[in-house]
């Protein structure tokens, strides 16, 4: 199990040293959300009504930008082959890399969301719920995204293919993420049910994502 932490620590260290991916995702999130009020006009009621949806969709797209880097660099420099010869099962190695992606991209995006909520006149009472749903929902994005990134590892110009593969899988997270927030701001659905389903989707991805990613990598590096 300590090989798992070693790999996780290395990936986080590389994120710090090389930066890039996190900055791009955060910058993209900021710019997309900033453009919304400019495009839709200063109707505060409209903005606060669509704020949860805009924040979630922009978050999914921002996270998508950084997904290819989960395995790409390790594949290009041959590290992936050596990782596969370790004692650690490849399923746990892919889990470590997906977890590193969540810590380095998912958490910063979730923490940036309330700041961007200000731009959209999001109801003040919704801020804790917004951050909570995003922290609980984003693991699904990293772990399902890891499977997609592994599947498109050797495909040329894989960006669009990755989006087509992965974005449909994000729909449940999107629906229940938004439902939980709108429930907290007086919407029709119950908060607890939506929040628990969101957590269930993340737990499900935690198991399925690394398994699928490992199978895809074994197939692709043949």
């Amino acid at each position: 199990m300590s090989a798992f932490w070693t790999l996780l620590k290395r990936d986080l260290l590389l994120q710090v040293r090389e930066g890039g991916a996190v900055g791009t995702a955060l910058g993209f999130y900021l710019i997309v959300v900033t453009m919304m009020p400019l495009g839709l006009g200063p109707d505060l009621n409209l903005l606060s009504r669509i704020a949860p949806g805009v924040l979630w969709i922009a978050l999914l797209l921002s996270a998508l930008l950084s997904l290819p880097r989960i395995f790409e660099a390790d594949d290009e420099d041959g590290s992936l082959d050596v990782i596969a010869t370790g004692d650690l099962p490849l399923e746990l190695a892919t889990a470590a890399k997906a977890l590193a992606h969540w810590i380095s991209t998912g958490i910063p995006l979730a923490l940036l969301a309330p700041v961007l909520g200000l731009l959209l006149n999001l109801d003040l009472g919704a801020y804790p719920v917004l951050v909570a749903t995003m922290l609980v929902g984003t693991p699904a994005i990293s772990f399902l995204g890891a499977a997609g990134a592994a599947l498109t590892l050797r495909a040329r110009r894989s960006g669009l293919l990755l989006a087509l593969l992965v974005l449909p899988l994000y729909i449940p997270t999107l629906i229940f993420g938004i439902a939980a927030i709108s429930a907290a701001t007086g919407g029709p659905s119950g908060f607890q049910a939506s929040f628990l389903i969101l957590a269930a989707i993340s737990l499900f991805s935690l198991v399925i994502g690394p398994l699928a990613a490992a199978a895809a990598i074994r197939f692709q590096t043949q």
């Binding site: 090989a3 040293r17 082959d81 010869t85």
Partner: protein, 211 residues
């Protein structure tokens, strides 16, 4: 003799897509022995080495490491050095080695082993330099130093001497001799003689090249 293992490959068949690259290859490597695969480009040397490393699935035949750790698969008892160096450009040489030592060794990086590995490939002056700044030959040495940071009985080297100078090839040969003396096994594909006493050569792919 630290290791008492024997690698036996019987009737190995490997397909790449619709092409049969390796057809019925058999060989055995005893403890302390080196086997060098030779053959023309495209003969399947890399395919054989990657198959033994578990990176490619065999279509037929068996690969056994007798006397090895039955709990682990062969890949986890082998060092695989491929064409690529598996170095992170933004980490220093020492950090790269420390990572592989901890990852391949099950979580603990032994300081002594790291310094041995740096010394074995004359990397001490480069230890604190990011791998991205090294020359091709220096990167290759940093990659080969991975062989020393954790002890594994089977070394699988695919063209290990690429971009190494003569002095560095001698360093590698010295490490290989030491490995073989402790009972280790070596399966390599190389065109440059490593200057080993007990080196056997196996020519592969001649028939398919003629066909």
């Amino acid at each position: 003799m630290d290791f008492l293992v024997r690698l036996s490959v019987k009737n190995l068949v490997v397909d790449r897509g619709a092409r049969r690259i390796v057809d019925g290859l058999s060989f055995a490597i005893e403890a302390g022995e080196a086997l060098v695969l030779t053959g023309p480009n495209g003969a399947g040397k890399t395919t054989v080495i990657r198959t033994v490393a578990g990176l490619i699935g065999a279509a037929g035949g068996t690969i056994n490491l007798d006397g090895g750790d039955a709990e682990k698969d062969i890949a986890a008892q082998a060092h695989y050095i491929g064409h690529l160096n598996a170095l992170k450009p933004s980490l220093t040489v020492e950090e790269n080695l420390r990572f592989w030592a901890a990852y391949l060794g099950g979580g603990t990086a032994d300081d002594a082993a790291i310094y041995d590995a740096l010394a074995a490939f004359d990397l001490e002056p480069l230890a604190s330099i990011p791998a991205g700044y090294l020359s091709a030959g220096q990167k290759r040495r940093a990659c080969l130093a991975r062989l020393i940071v954790t002890r594994r009985p089977l070394w699988l080297l695919d063209e290990p001497t690429v971009s190494l100078d003569t002095a560095s090839v001698k360093l590698l040969a010295e490490c290989v001799r030491h490995h073989l003396a402790s009972g280790g096994l070596l399966l390599a594909a190389t065109h440059i003689p490593l200057g080993l006493v007990s080196e056997r050569r196996l020519e592969i792919g001649v028939r398919s090249a003629a066909a």
